[in-house]
């Protein structure tokens, strides 16, 4: 139940995009149509779900004082985390290219860009800061990825519709996307009071 709690919290209440502004660059750049947003969202869920447990293992087994080397190597954390993420993204890219060439061409440049998607590295750093254990880190990764997926689908759908509205010219496109994201952030904040564990206990 604790895991479910973490998943819900990561996906809705502490949404990586709408509460922490992580992964904003690709979120704004790729949210023009729902189809590409969908593909990128799935890729982010996948990469977050994989890198989170791997980075957990690295920080526990290699970098912590109780690890293999028996000394505090946390200053290497950034370099190792980003290397894991970059190689995982490379792996995902190769798999997608083999399995579904259509999706690969539609995602194009955005697939390698997941490396510099702050949501991925941010997720790993949050995981360390909040001291999750191994299974919790998987739940947090999947939840965070799902939240990111949800946010980008929602903004893409709104941006597709808003093309038919009469927005002031200077605000069109980017400016409107910012303001929409702010409004969505406020909407998601209404979920803040929810305590999933209390809900479960009530059942």
């Amino acid at each position: 139940m604790e895991l479910f709690n973490i998943f819900i919290k990561a996906a809705f209440i502490e949404n990586l995009v709408l509460a922490y502004f992580l992964g904003m660059c690709s979120y704004l750049a790729v949210s023009k149509t729902v189809t590409t947003a969908f593909g990128l969202g799935l890729a982010v869920i996948f990469v977050l779900g994989i890198t989170m447990p791997i980075n957990w293992l690295i920080s526990e087994l290699l970098l912590s004082e109780n690890g293999i080397f028996g000394m505090d190597l946390t200053f290497l954390r950034f370099i190792l985390f980003i290397a894991v993420i970059a190689s995982m993204v490379q792996l995902v890219e190769m798999i997608v290219e083999k399995v579904s060439p259509a999706l690969y061409t539609s995602l194009g440049i955005f697939l390698p860009l997941i490396t510099v998607n702050c949501a991925i590295l941010g997720g790993s750093l949050f995981m360390v800061a909040r001291e999750y254990n191994f299974t919790e880190s998987i739940a947090f990764g999947l939840g965070g990825g799902f939240g990111w997926f949800l946010a980008i689908i929602a903004i893409a759908a709104i941006r597709e519709k808003i093309r038919y509205s009469n927005v002031p010219p200077a605000l069109r496109g980017l400016g409107m996307a910012f303001i929409l994201t702010g409004l969505m952030g406020i909407a998601f904040m209404s979920l803040m009071g929810i305590d999933p564990s209390a809900l479960m206990a009530g059942k």
Binding site: L22, M24, C25
Partner: protein, 248 residues
């Protein structure tokens, strides 16, 4: 004026370009306006908007980004001819990650409260798209000095927006400026015995009575406020420069 311009130049033979000529000035100043990293290029929004609720952490963050952006451009440009094309992303990331680690450790040593407050956002400078973006777009193809100036310029352009957002959010959200730093200023709100709010003290002289019943705006403390403010910045900037308007 005319005399000085006539006498001074072309005395030395212009073999090499000046250290800080027109091109460098353009590189340094363009990111403040026409090619601003945040409002025009839309890069680097990720890691820092959450820190803009207070000015002091934003200033620290801006300095950190300027440092990382400038020096990563410099170092990447120095080794640019030795990097194989296939692994250039990894090389760039290692350079950036090393610089960010330096920043993190320095901050941890000299200003622990701010280090705690910024927490993961210092680490997230690594994935700040503006650093990576400048490396790819400029430093990989240009000489070290220019790359360094370009990196600095973009860092400053980023920092300026960051601090502007933070000033608005802190004044209206908390009624203070530079809270947490040694030079905290209290501006709006109920009077405070320790420092005394500027406007309430001014109320007796008539200026501040305008703000007498003002309460802090809690919306400004929410992360969403940063989005609105940047949206409005973009709106203003594009109203003045119609060429920048998004056609889509």
């Amino acid at each position: 004026m005319a005399e000085t311009t006539a006498t001074t130049p072309e005395v030395t033979v212009k073999e090499t370009e000046p250290l800080f000529g027109k091109a460098e000035k353009k590189l340094l100043l363009d990111p403040l306006g026409d090619t601003n990293p945040i409002t025009i290029q839309v890069l680097g929004i990720c890691s820092a908007l959450a820190v803009t609720s207070l000015v002091y952490p934003s200033v620290v963050m801006a300095i950190a980004v300027i440092f990382v952006c400038g020096f990563s451009s410099l170092f990447t440009s120095l080794v640019r001819n030795k990097i194989p094309k296939q692994v250039r992303m990894i090389v760039q990331l290692v350079i950036i990650a090393t610089l960010v680690t330096i920043v993190e450790l320095t901050l941890k040593r000299f200003n622990y409260p701010i280090y705690k407050q910024l927490s993961v956002y210092i680490g997230l400078i690594i994935t700040n798209c503006i650093v990576m973006g400048r490396l790819e777009a400029y430093a990989m193809a240009n000489r070290p000095w220019r790359a360094f100036v370009d990196g600095l310029g973009n860092g400053v352009g980023y920092g300026v927006i960051l601090i502007m957002v933070a000033v608005i959010r802190e004044i209206f959200g908390k009624g203070t400026l530079f809270a947490g730093s040694p030079i905290q200023i209290n501006i709006i709100g109920a009077s405070n015995d320790e420092v005394g709010y500027l406007i309430n003290t001014a109320a007796e002289s008539g200026i501040g009575s305008l703000f007498a019943g003002y309460y802090n705006n809690n919306l400004m403390v929410l992360p969403a406020a940063a989005m609105f403010i940047i949206g409005i910045f973009i709106w203003i900037q594009r109203s003045y420069r119609p060429t920048l308007v998004d056609v889509s």
